[in-house]
Subunit: 195 residues, 2 copies
Amino acid sequence: MALAHAILALLSDHSHTGYDLARDFDGSVGFFWKATHQQIYRELADLEEQGRVRSEVMLQEGRPNKKIYHLTPEGRDWLARWIPEPCEPGPNREDLLVKTFAGALVPPAALAREIERHRVIHVQKLAQYHVIQQKYFPDPAVFTLKDRYGYLTLRRGIRQETEWIDWCDEVLVLLTAVPNEAGPPPEERPSVTVQ
Amino acid sequence: MALAHAILALLSDHSHTGYDLARDFDGSVGFFWKATHQQIYRELADLEEQGRVRSEVMLQEGRPNKKIYHLTPEGRDWLARWIPEPCEPGPNREDLLVKTFAGALVPPAALAREIERHRVIHVQKLAQYHVIQQKYFPDPAVFTLKDRYGYLTLRRGIRQETEWIDWCDEVLVLLTAVPNEAGPPPEERPSVTVQ
DNA sequence: AGCGACATGTAATACGTTACATGATTGG
DNA sequence: CCAATCATGTAACGTATTACATGTCGCT
């Protein structure tokens, strides 16, 4: 039931509406948690019943009213007590690796195309994360204590995407190692390093 | 519904019992797919109904009979047709990153302890993967075409664990950067490089 | 004597995804 | 005029987790 914790973690920074939370899950912090708006609205209702969040309705004209959720002291305590509790690494589920594992069933070029497609996705994500880093964390030396934590989660996103890109390159090299089975050699790709 | 594909991918290499599959999901290929035995038995029953796998009962004395599942030609085709279809990167869900994000709520040393615990887990996983690499893929130059694919998924596991360890180190350095809040400095840790 | 590995399954519950539903505003 | 963004929700369905259930063998 760690979706609840993820929501409270975002609320611990500042108040959000359900809509905001859904957008953040999809964007900036999406590399460590994902949820649809339906899950979030349901969970927020539960959390309010349990007294861990409270909401205020903000009347708006022209557009639907907002329900702004904020953490209660009980919610904050509950989240803080959870942090030191031992937890396990999350489950890994990657379609692309299933495809790679079964790669012998298709021509290498077919798999290579799908790997290239994913490489592009990861390059784009990485660029996004670099933008966020530049904007919010330009100088690691002058962090406030509070900023450290957001920075560190972002670092994980950057490392993860970098690592994916490197892996894709390794796959593409090996797949094209037998040229007459894998189509033309891949175009030059700039190497990626964590920065 | 990619659990079905993951099962078929394992069966494409060689036949397994449900029990075997559950063990493999938990062990060697666990870094790209996880499933409990209940999920697997249910899915195998469905796949058999759909004609994608077939099973033979192997009578045993003393222990329960085995049901050995193998891929049918239809199952093989279905899996092969799925591989070139575009798919998205899997969802990320990491409790540890939620904890890091909300890290300001607890003393840095409390978070550091949990990070250290995870570091140990990832070091152990990495060691396991290195053993597998040494045992099954000692020399990348002499691969059969079929072996490449298992090797590449293993490489991803190795990279992933290495990256986790590096990230944990980065966190621990930043958390102990303000010594009077973060307890004693961490012991020396050998640096990790992908090998 | 008790635990863990082997081997398969059912049942109940929790969680996640997809589709449906509403309705004003802004920009192309 | 159509699509996207803002903003919230319900209902149905599918997937995943947890607990329960059974029974032998080999080890300590």
